[in-house]
Subunit: 354 residues, 2 copies
């Protein structure tokens, strides 16, 4: 079994990842788009704004500090943060959290960027994407020397909707390509309606890249684009995520076309098998449409080694990606960890909350 | 002229600093002790709580974002942040800001620790020093691998008062040893009165180290003690500052005596000549009382190369240290930069605000 499978691009990138010191950067952001009824199931109903804070606390402290009750996870599949946590137990994975506009602050140490969370895209996100891109570039200059590889993940509830919105506004005919935190197909219709309405209302035909992101994007996207731009000059950048990170690649592609110096040889997207095989979205087509030479991989991991019912729901398509779970698994694989070990550790962490 | 002078300890530490990749960590904190009338002049009257935010912005962006007006600095000596900024212009000095309890948030990217600012020591600081120490240790485990040397500075208005308070409460007869942001000798009397009153009210004879810090310390102190404890295991730690950082050494000494594993060979305090030669404080005696084998140095820098009147005020004792200016100069010296170059760059930055 090939542990890490290629979606497109060159496996040379993966070979260079071996035995490199890695920072796991997790960028949290919030968009009020998440409050549109039915748009996301990434978190506890009524407490979606807590998701980034709680995920980070679980990862950092081993338990959620801001809302201890949710330790008892409700019925249904658990958050993919369990997978990333399991990897962190199995091999060293130094964390670096970024608050690019959270609504609920996390109690874990987190680097706060000068940014607030964004409006719903229906009302106009109203963010300053250009400034956030420049902040990302500036910040990357401070940290690029601190490691050899930077895995950049995200925790942005409803972030697939903003990803879909900016990509569509950029001119891609991408209906049906974007993933969802829900397995319900009605959500896809709702998303399309929201995205079309937002673009119709807030994006003019002549809108520039940064105007598009400012109106229908979220703050994670331009910030991460800025970080990846600078770090890719000297180090390797793994965008850990599915279609949300593909949207960041669409931004990088636009920037590169307009003269920004971006070293795509040092950039790859790494996602999960659940996203790669998702029947309700199409990351392969999306990536190919952006640029077929961009490196993209997925970790060939599923819960077939587990008998835990709620973990099996991942294999049924109920959860697909998040907290850079796919990239974290790939990182574990590159460190010689096996699927069975990851599964066992996930079960162990999960049972401690049951 | 010896560029870096020894206060005590071994110069071997300095030799190992040569050509090492360095992170400049600046820990900001706030104590309402700063609001006691006459206790500090570290900032604009009425806006002392802005000092850490503004210093960090000047260092990071090159100008103060939160209060653009103060760009026009008032009469009197400018903030020592100009010195640290000058060094950053002359040699690479990657910044890492920590918010260990600021009152006014900075717009520069800053890692927020789960901590709020503290009460005045007169009312009881009411911080959880033990928890902050553990947070520091935990955080250091995430970052220790990212560089070879960590300069840790502080921006804590009234921080010499909390430093004095915890050191005295630990049993040192240290009246007259602690520095002040003011050249007025009346301030020393005020500080002594405040410190004695705070200890009398809030520190019992049986108080433990962490109880003492929790009652009359500030949040920077236990957090930095935790960071230094862990980083010193594998990397070099420079405590950049004067008597405030000496108080952190007093904490480390207590911890070490009670069994905490701290590698003092990898720790040094580096301060300015203005502190080393200060007639109103006595860092040499303070350090010696803590432990005469701890490494401590000062950078042999003054403004004798400058004709700018307000910079000359440093040499007259009006400003002595802050924003790890002494350690920053030492770092520049180790990188082959000369006093004249630093002076010229400070003048250049200062004149851009005049």
């Amino acid at each position: 079994m090939e542990r890490i499978k290629t979606l497109q691009g060159s496996r040379d990138f993966l070979e260079r990842l071996q035995n490199r010191q890695t920072t796991f950067m997790l960028v949290g952001s919030y968009t009020e788009t998440a409050e549109i009824d039915g748009i996301t199931v990434a978190g506890l109903p009524g407490f979606i704004d807590y998701t980034p804070a709680l995920d980070m606390e679980l990862l950092y402290y081993g338990y959620p500090k801001s809302m201890p009750d949710i330790a008892k996870m409700p019925d249904g599949p658990p958050s993919p943060v369990l997978i990333t946590s399991a990897v962190r137990h199995l091999c060293p994975l130094p964390l670096h959290f970024i608050d690019a506009g959270l609504k609920v602050e996390t109690k874990a140490p987190i680097t706060k960027i000068n940014s607030t969370f964004s409006n719903s895209i229906i009302k106009n996100s109203k963010i300053d994407a250009k400034e956030l891109f420049l902040e990302g570039k500036r910040y990357a200059q401070e940290i690029a020397h601190t490691n050899e590889v930077f895995i950049i993940g995200e925790v942005v509830p409803a972030g697939t909707t903003t990803a879909y919105a900016i990509t569509k506004a950029l001119g891609y005919e991408c209906d049906g390509w974007f993933a969802s935190s829900s397995a319900e197909s009605s959500v896809a219709n709702l998303k399309r309606k929201i995205v079309d309405e937002a673009i119709e209302k807030h994006v003019s035909k002549q809108a520039t890249l940064f105007e598009i992101i400012s109106s229908v994007g979220d703050t994670m996207q331009p910030f991460v684009a800025g970080v990846a731009t600078v770090i890719s000059q000297t180090k390797q950048v793994v965008l850990g995520g599915g279609t949300q990170m593909a949207a960041v690649l669409a931004i990088l592609k636009e920037l590169s076309d307009s003269g920004e110096n971006i070293n795509f040889k040092n950039i790859a997207l790494i996602t999960t098998k659940w996203i790669a095989h998702d029947k309700q979205s199409n990351i392969a087509t999306l990536l190919c449409a952006i640029n077929p030479t961009i490196n993209a991989f997925y970790s060939n991991f599923d819960f077939s080694d587990s008998n835990v019912k709620n973990l099996g729901l991942y294999d049924d398509g109920y959860v697909k990606e998040g907290v850079a779970a796919g990239a974290a698994i790939a990182y574990a694989y590159l460190n010689g960890i096996k699927q069975k070990e990851i599964t066992k550790k996930v079960e162990e962490i999960y049972s401690s909350f049951a």
